[in-house]
Structure formats: structure tokens, C-alpha cells
Amino acid sequence: MKENGRNGYATEGIVIEHDAPTRARHNDRIQKMLIILSKAGLEDVYAAFVLANGARMEGIEAEIFFTFFGLDAIHKKKLNHLHIATVGNPSMHIPTIIGGLPGMEAMATKMMKKEMEKVDMPEVPEFLEILKASGVKLWACKLAMDMFHYKKEDMCDEIDGVLTVGDFYQKGEGPGVHILFI
């Protein structure tokens, strides 16, 4: 809110926060996490899923908005075949030319999945069931769906619906909401 200065000098451009203490109080605790997943590398999908599940475990609401390639994670025919990126992934510590060889992604993915099982990390389909059962809302992005010519029937049963960006922002109304882009 803009106000004129009392002492005659202008405070143009200065924002005076009358409700700052109230806002600080509301922000004491995270109430809801809105997570936007735009990629479908296994590491990205797991990051989004673990964060959403972890939020619910803390009593925080969580919703995931799947957009662009992130839609693969909820696409019936694709969600079982997500891979770790072995090319363009500096953390793989293998030369790009090796990472690009046939079978490398599959091998890296297999190794990663073995390690994930050890820490009781479920595979993608089971993780989606867990998220749904935990009360995480799963939304598909309408624009990306149109772009890839996906229909709602192409997506897994766990999703709650197809939303526009505007609809998704409305889910973020209220205090203590945080938005995360992956």
C-alpha cells in the first residue's frame, strides 16, 4: 500500500507494510507446498514426490502440478519407463560420449532403482498411489496436455484433474503457501 509522507516529503515508491506483523505470524508455519514438476528425469520426479510426501508427513498440505515433460510422470504408458539422464548430467561423472551409448541410461536407472529400494523408496506407480492416499492433490497442466495431444484418459487414475495455470495459482491462495519449481 502506498502512502503520502506526513512530513511533507514524498514517500513515492515506498511500500508501507501495515500488516507486516500479522503476515510474519502467518508465515511462522508452512501451510501448503505447491510443487510444479516440469521434467521427467527420475531424479526430478523423485524430488517432487519425496517433497510432497514429506510435506504430508509433517501435516503440511501438498499439491503437484505436472507440466511439460513432467506429464510423463503421470502418463499411464510412460510413468513406468522414466530414466536417469546420463547425458548432460554433470553429477554422473562419466563422459558425455559414454553416457550417450545405447543402454547407458537403462543401466544407470537400474542401479539407481536398486539403491532406492534399499532406502524403502517406492517405484513411480506405487509412489503415486501413496501420494494419493496421503491426500496430495495431483494436477495435469492443460496447456501442456493440449500441446502433447494427451487426453485425461491417457493419464493415471490418481490425478485429480486438468488445470490451467490460473486455476493452479488459485490453489495457492491463503497464508503460508510456498511454490516450488522443479
Binding site: 510426501n53 514429506g54 504430508r56 508427513m57 509433517e58 501435516g59 524403502d120 501413496i130 492416499a133 496421503s134
Partner: protein, 102 residues
């Protein structure tokens, strides 16, 4: 620090988790549940006894494991303990705060 729970002096940490499980009994569980506004039903007790058994066996708890326990499914678990189920149930059961992320 010490806290009086159900008329007994019980050692708890700063988050309210019991430090010594041997100090827990069902009346302590009842009062801890009451603090969380939870009225314990037989379904609650089944779950509490299950996680206590797992704790005694030193098995780390995860939401996934609860879902596969046969005691309750994940949806039901969230219905029994709507806010932070694993933490809340652990607190009421007198076992340490779960350390996992999933």
C-alpha cells in the same frame, strides 16, 4: 526435561517425545493422544502397538511400511492421525521421533 503425564513424572525431549520407552503405559498414551485432540479407538491402539513392536525390533518406520503392515492402509493412517501421522503416532506410542524422509 520432566513432564507430568497421567500423574507420573516422565522424561521427554524438547519436542515432547518420551526419552525412555519403559516409562510408557497406556494411560500415558491416552493423555498424549488427548493433547493432540485424538480419541484413541481400537484401530488407533492396533497401530500404536504395531509401531512399538517395530521400534523394539529396531526397524525404521516409513509411511510405505505402515501401508504394507496389514494393520492399516495409508489413507486409513491419515484418517487415524490426520496431522503428521507418523510423528504423532510415534509421540503417543512413546517411541522416538521417526528419522526417515519417506
Amino acid at each position: 526435561m520432566d513432564k507430568i503425564i497421567a500423574g507420573k513424572t516422565i522424561a521427554v525431549n524438547e519436542e515432547g517425545y518420551l526419552i525412555d520407552f519403559s516409562q510408557w503405559d497406556e494411560s500415558v498414551g491416552e493423555e498424549l493422544a488427548d493433547e493432540q485432540n485424538i480419541e484413541l479407538s481400537s484401530a488407533h491402539w492396533n497401530l500404536l502397538h504395531y509401531i512399538q513392536d517395530e521400534y523394539k525390533k529396531e526397524v525404521p518406520l516409513t509411511i510405505r511400511k505402515i501401508g504394507k503392515s496389514g494393520v492399516v492402509d495409508i489413507k486409513g493412517f491419515y484418517q487415524l492421525f490426520p496431522t503428521a501421522p507418523l510423528k504423532t503416532a510415534s509421540k503417543i506410542a512413546g517411541i522416538p521421533k521417526p528419522a526417515g524422509c519417506i
